[in-house]
Structures are given as structure tokens and as C-alpha cells.
């Protein structure tokens, strides 16, 4: 594991849907192949939406 070096930083507040705005509609299949509508599934609950690199690496 190399010692982390400073890497050109990214302004993450400028990336992706902004704060204060409804998260876009997302409809994708889940791990069982069932289509999931994120907002419909969420209903009236708050939500954590995690983006990650991959389940494979």
C-alpha cells in the first residue's frame, strides 16, 4: 500500500445532484433483477444513496 500522496482535489459539491434539490428519479434493477424505483421504494422515508466503485474490485 503506497503512502497516499496529495492528489488534485475535486470540488465534490459541484459534482452530481445539488443540495436543496430533489434527487433525480432513478429506476434500476436490483440484485434479484426486480426493477426498483428509488423514490417510490423510499416512500416518505429519508434515504442514504451510496455510490460505490464495484462489487467486483
Amino acid at each position: 500500500m503506497p503512502t497516499p500522496q496529495p492528489f488534485p482535489s475535486t470540488d465534490f459539491m459541484a459534482i452530481g445532484p445539488p443540495v436543496g434539490v430533489r434527487f433525480p428519479d432513478v429506476v434500476l434493477p436490483d440484485q434479484h433483477g426486480t426493477l426498483v424505483d428509488l423514490h417510490a421504494t423510499r416512500g416518505t422515508r429519508p434515504a442514504l444513496v451510496v455510490f460505490y466503485r464495484s462489487a467486483r474490485w
Partner: protein, 268 residues
Amino acid sequence: MELQAALAEYERNGIAVFAISYDSVGTLGAFSDKYSIAYPLLADEGSVVIRRLGLLNEQLQEHHAFYGGSVRDDQLGVPYPGAFILDERGVVIQKRFEDSYRARETAVGILEGAFGMVSEVHGPEATAMHEGVTVRAYLDSPTYRSMQRLRLTVELRIADGLHVYGTPIPDGYVPLTMEVGPVDGMVIGDLEAPEPIPFTIPGLDEAFQVYEGSVKVALPLTFELATADQVLDVTVRYQVCSATDCRPPAALQLQLPVSVLNHVERPG
């Protein structure tokens, strides 16, 4: 599966959890079976949603070049890793993306730090008591791994009629702070503390900011290396006063063990 381990805490607090990657349904199905994942792993094959939301990690190629590696074709299309916190209406209230390329918060850390909920599950805790104040410290996880961000939470319960100082503070008084002894590769972030309340003493010009009752502060700790099990030496400093007099500044020492986790767990 760190998020799966915390899922019951999210459900108890009525928070929905979704994880999105560019993996196929087949890949996610196998992963889900292997680790008994009970929340939706959404398959954004072709990174259509990742692109539409502007989350495509265009830095990956640059990043690998920076470290002397190369990007495989099947690694293109990854998002910036991070999380969105949505409120009851589905509005984005926070974005939890990291400056550091791979630093990740723990799921319990996000539950407490972003949603303001209290998890019943966390790492080992230590308590100490001095001058009418009970100090309880805990990490959000009993384990850490390389490039993970843990939250060190310290909760003070202050006896009635007493207060401790926040900042800003006049010279000669000691505000509530905490320190963690140096650990190789551990970067200490800024203290997260609630707004103190103004407090004035009749006859004194000085304006004080104080905490009364119960106060919780947190310190983000990012582990850039995962070399060995650690015992964190935590020092909590404060000064206790009543409306009429002050005690000498206190420095309480607490120790929190955290063990290293080297095997890869995903997705977060």
C-alpha cells in the same frame, strides 16, 4: 459488509438505504448471496444513471497515471464513491463525498453524522468522570481499514448548575476540546461541535459561550494506513464552572482500542 451490519440501525431509524454501482444484476446477485445483503444493490450497467447524474469518475485514468498504474477497460464507468443524504421529500440535504480518493466513512458514522441519529451499535467505549462531568467516548466502529474515516464521539453529561466553555472564549479560560495521540497514518479532522449558548455573568464584561446538560462533539479520524491494531489515547479538556466559581481546567484521558481489518469489504 459494513453497511449490511448497520442496516438494522438504519431501519430502526426509518431510513431507506440504496447502493448503486455499474455491476450487472448477475454480479450483484452473487455478491448479495455471498454476503446476505438485505438492501437494494442497484445495477447501473453501462453507467447510464452514473453519467446522467454527473457522477462519472473522469479522474480515474488520471489518478492511476498519478500512481503509475493503468485503468482496465472494465474499470471505466465507475462513479465517484460517496453518498447522498435525502430527506423525507427526497431532497438532497447532504453530499458525503471525500476529498481523499478512497477515504470512506462508516455506515454508523453517516447515520450519526449526517442523519443526526444515535446508533445503538458502535465500537468500544470508555467513560471517565471528573468535577461533575461524565465523559463517554466511543468510535463508530470497533475496526478500521485503510482509507477509512471513523468518527470519535465524546459525550459530556454536565451536572445541573454547571457548564463548560465553548468557543470563542476570553483569555484565561479553557474551552472544550479533544485531542488524540498520534497514530502513524491517522489524519485528525476538525472538531464537530454544536453551537454553544451565550452566557454572561452580572458585573463582568466578558461574553462566554457555554454548554450545559448534555453535549456531544465528534472528531473525524481518517486512517490512511492500516498497519496494526491501535489503542487511541484520547484527551478531553474542559473547564467546569458554576454561576459563581470555576474549577481548575480538567484533562481526562481515555483509551479506545480499534483493530485493523485488512480483508476487503464492499460495497462500503
